[in-house]
Amino acid sequence: MNSALTELNLHAVLPALAMVIAAAVVMLLDILNRKGKTPTLALLPWVALIGVLATAGVSIWLLSQPVSSFQGMAISDERAQALNLVVLTGAALAILLSVRYIPAVNRQTGEYYTLILLVSAGMMMMGAATDLMVVFLALETFSLGLYILAGLNRDNRRSNEAAMKYFLLGAFASAFFVYGAAFVYGATGSTRFDLIAMRLFDGQADAAVLAIGVTMLIAGFGFKVSLAPFHMWTPDVYQGSPTPVTAFMSIGTKAAAFAAFYRFFATALPTEQPTWGMALGILAVLTMTLGNLVALRQSSLKRLLAYSSIAHAGYLLVGLATATPAGIDAALYYLIAYAFMNMGAFAVVILLERQGEMDADGNRLRGLAKRHPQVALLMSVFMFSLAGVPPFAGFFAKFFVFAAAVQGGYSWLAAVAMLNSAIGAWYYLRIVVDMYFAEPSDETRIEAQQASIPVAMTLGIAAVFTVALGVLPWLWTGLVQSGAVNVVALR
């Protein structure tokens, strides 16, 4: 038993470990800065960025390594690394967006970047976890960090209230999650996915207790990815949080929770797929329909993007409901595509904000094409991509996910989702209409202090990848599915 210590294999936690090290470096630099008054403050985001890129390097290196596990509690496989890359993309772009933004909101930038990195580490552990305890700890790690980040602007009531609401509802959801985990443990005697599956296979599990546990787990996960009816925190928190945090949140939480969600269902409960597949399908329909319909009525850009993100969670869930390897690969493609196009959209929101406020009204887009044609062009790319129009990444994202759904026998779900994306096209298109076909008003302008080089970099990177992934989808799939797809590890 004690020999287990020597069997430690760090592969599964290496990327997260790299992030924690990066966080420590940032923290130390920050302290040095305070002690010696050296002007290292401006360096912090770039140090953090280097940390993220280095971690991405580790992840890509691990892609070519064999699957390895950490005492059965965590795993390093292609999907875990793919998820890491999604999270890292979100973190890198969020850090770029923060360079100018955060110092104006809160002067403790050292803590801010440390938290971003630690939160990313937590998210990355979600995708690697193969044990409910690990999932729970990782979930809490990134959630706690995000509660804080949402309230980063201490002097802004909205930010405060976003943090408060997010925390109270989040803690409530966590309690449900862990209660669900307890029931799953009670039904099967283990929290490890493979052992759970084994007990189920042997027929030793208590089905009713397991059902209660899984239902509560779905509620907990559903809260994190804002599935209807657990979505009510999303618009307020999105609106109240500092915009780079919102952008990061929208991508990171989705990616992390979906990865763990999928791994749990596919690895621990493959035998029950028909039941939970149907449940997830119904949740998907609810979520995307609600997100799209309510988004139609929003005027605040961040609220609109919040409801749009709810709708996208619904589409993603379509990929998971099928529980096929194709479904999860499609969902991962969706996540990376969503990371780029959504980051781009939030970068535009930042451009439109005024000093000291953290949101922009849709009115400010009116006639933007006449004032700032380049920004309007990029925003149109993001909007068309979010709507799922080819040749942008959003199209293939939807196409792959729905392909998996049809393949898995969920054609009706794919059809509902497609009709939903037609509804969604309406509000994305409205933004384009406003930008191009309306006359600019006094509100329409981009203030000089918002338009910084890092924001422009984010916009550029996001746009390039939104187009590139749409035209050449294998750029991503070729990277993360280079080896033979290891189905055994997941199912």
Binding site: M73, A74, Q108, L118, T141, L144, G145
Partner: protein
């Protein structure tokens, strides 16, 4: 009905009563004190389930740490009973209650269908701390590491929200705090 059962019922009843007390108290301090007793009753139940070490941890962490923290905060911000603001949707508590009853009914039905197997008094080797220690640090070292990161996040987070740099006088914050 043997002694164990009577003991369980007494402690359990106290535990539920204090839980109700936490929820229904008008004043936060009362809630906190009820919570303290509640945590203690649970610690007693842990002992009956061969989890002596966790019972001790329960007292130290919850009663000694969390409740004290909460009491500090109450002292900091005062604990006057709060008036319900006008316009508050008064149906919310009832809806919550109804939802809770439904949930409890569902769980109870499920739990009661489980077989009434008597527990093995020697299960988990009688709850000796050394066994749990080996289990945690040998088999579940990853969890300890993760918990460390979690606590680091909480630490930095609390620091970020609570501490203000001395020279924090950005024009915006002044503008908005007024």
């Amino acid at each position: 009905m043997d002694f164990a059962m009577i003991f369980f019922i007494l402690v359990g009843a106290l535990s539920v009563a204090t839980a109700v007390g936490v929820v229904t108290s008008k004043v936060a301090v009362h809630s906190a004190l009820f919570l303290l007793v509640h945590f203690a009753t649970l610690a007693i139940l842990y002992v009956t389930l061969n989890a002596q070490f966790l019972a001790a941890a329960q007292i130290i962490v919850y009663a000694g740490g969390i409740v004290i923290l909460i009491l500090f905060v109450i002292m900091l911000i005062g604990s006057a009973p709060m008036e319900t603001r006008a316009g508050y949707r008064s149906w919310v508590p009832y809806a919550g209650l109804a939802l809770g009853v439904l949930m409890l009914a569902g769980m109870a039905i499920t739990i009661l269908q489980m077989p009434l197997t008597p527990l093995d008094p020697n299960a988990n080797q009688g709850g000796v701390p050394i066994v749990l220690g080996v289990e945690i640090y040998a088999q579940n070292i990853l969890l300890v590491q993760l918990a460390a990161v979690l606590l680091l996040v909480a630490l930095i987070g609390a620091l970020l929200l609570a501490r203000r740099p001395k020279n924090d006088e950005s024009p915006i914050s002044n503008l908005q705090s007024k």
